[in-house]
């Protein structure tokens, strides 16, 4: 009996040590890099306060809104979230609308990559046209440094934090932009997302943030 208890004790210590190592894991991919030069920079707000509409599974901390938007409860899409976003220019004036469908990437693993999220953007600017952005983001640094300490360890919000989550899928580490209509037809480029979290609600997450979608078009 004492050997069994000793074995279980050893297992528990081993699991705890490994979990601690994973938490500070130096092998996991770090944050992405923001595009140094961008042709277009679109600002947007927190999904809590600034989005036109949001849909999720209905069970997560961030619920679907406004009232009447149905939850994404079906099994094949239950881990997905839809954000309908007003995009602003540098002066804060809305200039377009974006639809972003986000879902965890099946390449997520906690040893060498992190918590990866796929984002499929469809962006439209009235009179100008539409383009697609295919993005993959690593949210593990933000989860590790901000979300887990506040939500699970009861630590206070330490103040503003900047996040550059985009890591692909382009080999350059940026998102892929594909022009669709209007002045964007036949054009390709890269994009990154940047977030400045300014307030963090202990119940639902980032309540005030300034976010950017930076787009650089390639000359082809």
């Amino acid at each position: 009996m004492k050997y069994l208890i000793t074995l279980l004790l050893g297992l528990a210590v081993g699991v705890t040590m490994a979990a601690g190592l994973l938490y500070v894991n130096p092998l996991a991919i770090d944050s992405g890099q923001v595009l140094a030069e961008a042709d277009d920079v679109f600002g947007f707000d927190s999904p809590l306060t600034g989005e036109l509409a949001f849909a999720s599974d209905g069970l997560s901390r961030l619920t679907s809104h406004p009232s009447g938007v149905p939850d994404l409860w079906e099994t094949a899409i239950v881990k997905s979230a839809l954000s309908v976003i007003a995009l602003k220019d540098s002066t804060g004036v809305p200039v377009g609308v974006a639809s972003r469908v986000s879902y965890p990437a099946e390449t997520t693993e906690l040893l060498t990559t992190g918590v990866l999220l796929n984002d499929d953007w469809l962006v439209s600017l009235p009179d100008s046209g539409s383009f697609f952005v295919t993005s993959q983001a690593n949210w593990w640094p933000f989860l590790k440094e901000t979300v887990i300490p506040i939500w699970y360890f009861g630590q206070p919000w330490s103040g503003s934090s900047a996040i550059d989550p985009t890591i692909g899928p382009d080999s350059s580490g940026h998102a892929i932009v594909t022009g669709a209509t209007g002045e964007f037809v036949g054009r390709f480029g890269n994009a990154t997302e940047h977030y400045d979290v300014r307030e963090f609600d202990t119940q639902v997450g980032p309540s005030q943030l300034a976010a950017e979608l930076r787009v650089a078009w390639r000359n082809e």
Partner: protein, 217 residues
């Protein structure tokens, strides 16, 4: 012996946890069997369906670009500088040929100098995203409904079928996407079958997206 047992347990727990972190499928979206058909010319055909009104998630934008209510939910609105813009965005749950929900679709209908375009991004979490770019008249569906007797603001029953595009070609092109759709190109046909409009302006019926694709050369 106790010491060896403890160290053995520790190593086992440590290794098992790291292995699980690296190899456990932390994200495994339900993969619904793809309902595709291989065409005689070597391409493949896959149809997606949207059942209205149950699959509607959110709609906002110009009422001129599509029939029915300008917004769903009704209090959804674009911010002021965009309120009069020629743009309408729809979001739907997307079903396969067996009627099972397999994805989330975004449709942007934008008025341009040379006509209107309807662009789709359909995200299928287990497979990737498929991107569609179509040309359409700005009021093709509204005109067909009006010809069938629909008057805005009043309930209507009947059947109207509209295939978007110029009538001679399919609605537009499939430009690829992400995941398994990355290497594909093709065409698609967007067909609306409307069987009613309720008092609130919500459409009843089916939107069908008929895609034909093959590997890009």
């Amino acid at each position: 012996m106790l010491k060896a047992t403890f160290i053995g347990g520790l190593i086992l727990g440590f290794a098992a946890t790291l292995s699980a972190a690296g190899f456990y499928p932390w994200v495994d979206h339900l993969r619904v069997e793809s309902r595709t058909q291989v065409l005689p010319n070597g391409g493949r055909q896959e149809n997606f369906f949207i059942r209205l009104p149950v699959d509607q998630i959110a709609t906002v934008g110009s009422a001129e670009l599509a029939p029915g209510a300008a917004a769903f939910p009704a209090d959804l609105a674009l911010p002021e500088p965009l309120a009069d813009a020629s743009i309408r965005v729809d979001h739907f749950k997307v079903r396969d040929a067996m009627g099972e929900v397999v994805g989330v679709g975004s449709r942007h209908h934008v008025g341009l100098a040379d006509g209107a375009a309807a662009v789709w991004s359909i995200s299928l979490p287990s497979r990737g995203a498929v991107q569609l770019v179509g040309r359409t008249g700005s009021d093709q569906i509204s005109s067909a409904l009006a010809r069938a007797g629909y008057v805005a603001g009043t309930p209507w029953d009947g059947t109207v079928e509209v295939s978007l595009g110029d009538g001679n070609t399919r609605t537009g092109i499939l430009v690829g996407g992400s995941g398994e759709f990355t290497p594909l190109t093709g065409t698609f046909l967007e067909r609306w079958q409307i069987t009613g409009v309720d008092a609130a302006g919500r459409l009843q019926g089916t939107i069908e997206l008929n895609t034909t694709s093959s590997l890009a050369q």
